[in-house]
Symmetry: C2
Subunit: 216 residues, 2 copies
C-alpha cells in the first residue's frame, strides 16, 4: 500500500473537485468527499491538513497546467509574427482556445475544474483574491501583448475590455445549461466547438470598438 498514497491523494482531489464545483466550498462536507473517494474521513486530514487546504490543493493542481497551455499558445502566436503584430483575434484566441479545447477534448477531466474556476471568479469572497493569485501573471502577459498589438489604446478601455472578455469566457466554461433552455435546444452550453468558433471574434470586435476611437 506504500505507493498508493499518490493514487489516494488524487482520488481525494478528484472527488473534492467535482463536489466543490457543483455545490461550492461550504456546500460540501469532508465526509461526502471521502465517501465519493472511497476512503476514510481521517485520510483527508492526513494528506491535506484541513478542508480549506484541500480546496486550495484542488485549485492549484490544474492551474499550472492551464497557465502553461495558454502561455504556449501565446508564444506560438508571437513566433508566427516575428516582424509584425498578431491580430487581436489571434491573441485572444491564445487566451481562450486552450481552455475551450481542453474542455472539448477531455471534458470529464476538465469540466468540474472549469466550473469551479467560473464560480470563484464571480464570487465576491474569493474572486478578487484567488483569481489574482493563480492567474494574474498570465493575464498581465496577455494584456501586455494586446497593448503592443493595439498601440495607443486607452489603458482603462483595455482593462475593461479584458474584464468583459473574462466574464464571457467564465460563463462559457461554467457550462450551466442555461443556453439550452433559452434557445429551446438549438444551442448547447457544453458545445465548446461552437463557443470556440465565436468567442475570439466576438471579443476582438469588442476590443476594437472601445480602442479604435482613441488609438492611432
Amino acid at each position: 500500500m506504500r505507493n498508493n498514497a499518490e493514487g489516494t491523494r488524487n482520488r481525494i482531489l478528484d472527488a473534492a473537485e467535482e463536489l466543490f464545483a457543483n455545490r461550492g466550498f461550504e456546500g460540501v462536507t469532508v465526509r461526502q468527499i471521502m465517501s465519493k473517494a472511497g476512503a476514510d474521513v481521517a485520510l483527508a486530514y492526513y494528506h491535506f491538513k484541513s478542508k480549506r487546504d484541500l480546496f486550495d490543493a484542488v485549485l492549484l493542481r490544474r492551474a499550472e497546467l492551464m497557465n502553461e497551455k495558454r502561455l504556449a499558445a501565446l508564444r506560438q502566436v508571437e513566433e508566427r509574427h516575428p516582424d509584425d503584430e498578431p491580430s487581436l483575434e489571434e491573441i485572444i484566441g491564445a487566451f481562450t482556445d486552450p481552455l475551450l479545447d481542453m474542455l472539448a477534448e477531455a471534458p470529464d477531466e476538465w469540466r468540474s475544474y472549469m466550473a469551479l474556476v467560473a464560480q470563484i471568479n464571480n464570487s465576491p469572497e474569493w474572486g478578487g483574491e484567488l483569481m489574482t493569485k493563480y492567474f494574474d501573471p498570465l493575464v498581465r502577459r496577455f494584456i501586455e501583448t494586446i497593448r503592443r498589438a493595439v498601440p495607443g489604446c486607452d489603458e482603462a478601455d483595455m482593462f475593461w475590455s479584458y474584464h468583459f472578455l473574462s466574464g464571457a469566457l467564465t460563463l462559457t466554461i461554467a457550462e450551466t445549461g442555461r443556453l439550452n433552455n433559452l434557445s429551446d435546444g438549438l444551442c448547447d452550453s457544453a458545445d465548446m466547438a461552437a463557443a470556440r468558433a465565436r468567442m475570439a471574434r466576438f471579443a476582438a470586435a469588442g476590443f476594437r470598438a472601445l480602442c479604435a476611437e482613441n488609438s492611432r
Copy 2:
C-alpha cells in the same frame, strides 16, 4: 408589535441577501442571518418556512423590479423608433444600463443582490434552473428585439452572442475587485459609470462581428 411583521420580514431578507451574496447558500447559517437581522432564530421559520424558501424569497423580492426596469427601458427604445429599427447599442443598453444604473445610484441597496445573481448565473447547480425561472421571459423579449434589428443573423450566432454578453454583464455586477488588482488601481470593479460607458459598445460590436457575415 402587530405591524412590525413586515418590517421584520424585510430585515430578515436584507440580512439574508447580504450574507448569501458573500458566502453562498450553504456558507451561511440561519443563526448568522437572524443575528444580523436582530431577531430570534425561530422567526426565520415562522415568516419563511425553511432556509431554502428564505433563499428563494430573497431572489424573488428584487427580480420583479429588475425585470420591470429593463422592460421599460426596452419599450422606451422601441418607442423612440416607430418607423425604423433601433441600433444594437440602444437595445443592448436597455438590457444592461438599468442594472448598472441601479448599482450606481443605490449601491447599498443593490450590491448584494447583484452579486448574488452573478454567483447563481455561474453555478452549475442553480445557473440553468434559477436564471431561467426568474429572467427568461425578459431575455426572450430582448432577443426578439435584436432579431428584428439584425435581420438574417444566424440564430445560433445570436444566442451565443447573448451568452457572451450575459457573462460580461454578470462579472461586472459581481464587483469582485479583481479589476482593481489587475490594473493596479487604475480601474475599479465598482465603477459602474465606467462599465456603462463601455459595455453596450463592446457587446454590440461583438454581435455585429458574428452576425454580419451571415446577415443580409
